[in-house]
């Protein structure tokens, strides 16, 4: 019985979880690893909680795993940089990066479809380039539509910090996306 409920729950959140992880990592394998670790942790630690609690718990675990990934990546990048090597993860899967599949905004093709695709890629990239905390707050507040208190609780920060990070994230995104105005 619980297995069925768990399966249904995981199925309902897996796509969103992947997209959030992907927006942070810009790498499919890394994003899938994060989703896997998050699901396993939920099952191992919290599967006995009530179903209503799974959602907030999973969101918190997912954000925590993204933070862990970010830290690991930062350390790795630092070491590679110090050794004078190029960090493999800096490549961000060129083939997988859809941004390169679309023309830039300077393209002369006046297609609404292309403009939309370009905007989509622009927003995705702009979100992924935000500092981690701003990115997390932006995703929770604007994509997951958590309120300030829920976001603060999920990330373990104050409500004031949530407001500040969200305002800064929106400001940066607006600046980066000015070309779509």
């Amino acid at each position: 019985m619980m297995q069925q409920e768990l399966n249904d729950f995981l199925q309902s959140i897996e796509r969103r979880a992947y997209c959030i992880a992907y927006s942070a990592t810009r790498n499919r394998d890394e994003a899938l690893d994060i989703v896997q670790e998050s699901m396993f942790k939920l099952v191992e630690k919290y599967s006995r909680q009530t179903i209503d609690e799974w959602g907030p718990l999973f969101t918190r675990i997912l954000q925590s795993k993204i933070r862990d990934w970010y830290r690991r990546n930062k350390v790795r990048a630092g070491i590679f940089s110090w050794l004078g090597w190029r960090n493999k993860s800096d490549d961000i899967e060129k083939g997988d990066n859809e941004l390169e599949q679309y023309p830039t905004h300077n393209s002369q093709i006046p297609s609404q479809q292309l403009e939309t695709a370009e905007m989509r890629q622009g927003i995705e990239l702009a979100i992924s380039e935000l500092p981690l905390r701003q990115q997390q707050v932006f995703v929770l507040r604007n994509i997951e539509q958590f309120n300030v208190a829920e976001t603060a609780h999920t990330l373990g920060i104050s409500e004031g910090s949530v407001k500040t990070h969200n305002a800064r994230a929106l400001q940066k995104l607006q600046t980066k996306l000015q070309r779509f105005r």
């Binding site: 619980m2 297995q3 768990l6 399966n7 995981l10 199925q11 897996e14 796509r15 969103r16 992947y18 997209c19 959030i20 992907y22 927006s23 499919r28 899938l32 989703v35 896997q36 699901m39 396993f40 939920l42 099952v43 191992e44 599967s47 006995r48 939309t116 905007m119 989509r120 927003i123 995705e124 979100i127 932006f138 507040r141 604007n142 994509i143 539509q145 929106l170 400001q171 995104l173 607006q174 996306l177 779509f180 105005r181």
Partner: protein, 131 residues
């Protein structure tokens, strides 16, 4: 769509995420499904161990706290305390089984010669009675 203010950024981002979710490629979807199945099978294993723990916990509840639940940790503490109590009781009973007279002799500060004399008088009285 043209983004005019911050609300537009948030709204547009939401739309993009939703569209991305709906248009994930087959390989990614298969891998997500596989991850989900692994997680659910992990839950199966967890449930078996959980059932075993539940029995232990229930036993603890019945023994030590019929009103409420007893967590495994506190149950172990209670079992340890109970074992100690049993050891103390058994030890006490074993000690109490020693002959009282001998114990009194060993613990009293009386002169042993006097006690030996008392034994002699006891023996003498017994001989007289028999004689």
């Amino acid at each position: 769509m043209i983004m005019r203010d911050e609300n537009d950024v948030g709204k547009k981002s939401r739309e993009i995420f939703q569209r991305k979710e709906d248009s994930l490629d087959q390989e990614t979807l298969k891998r997500l499904e596989s991850i989900r199945h692994q997680a659910v099978s992990l839950a199966d294993k967890k449930q078996y161990s959980w059932i075993a723990n539940l029995h232990l916990e229930r036993m603890g509840e019945i023994l030590f706290n019929p009103q409420g639940s007893v967590r495994t940790g506190s149950m172990l503490t209670a079992i340890t305390a109970m074992l100690l109590l049993v050891i103390i009781i058994v030890n006490y009973q074993f000690t109490s089984m020693l002959p009282v007279d001998d114990l009194m002799i060993l613990t009293s500060g009386e002169d042993l010669e006097l006690i030996e004399d008392l034994d002699f008088y006891d023996w003498l009285l017994e001989v007289d009675n028999n004689g």
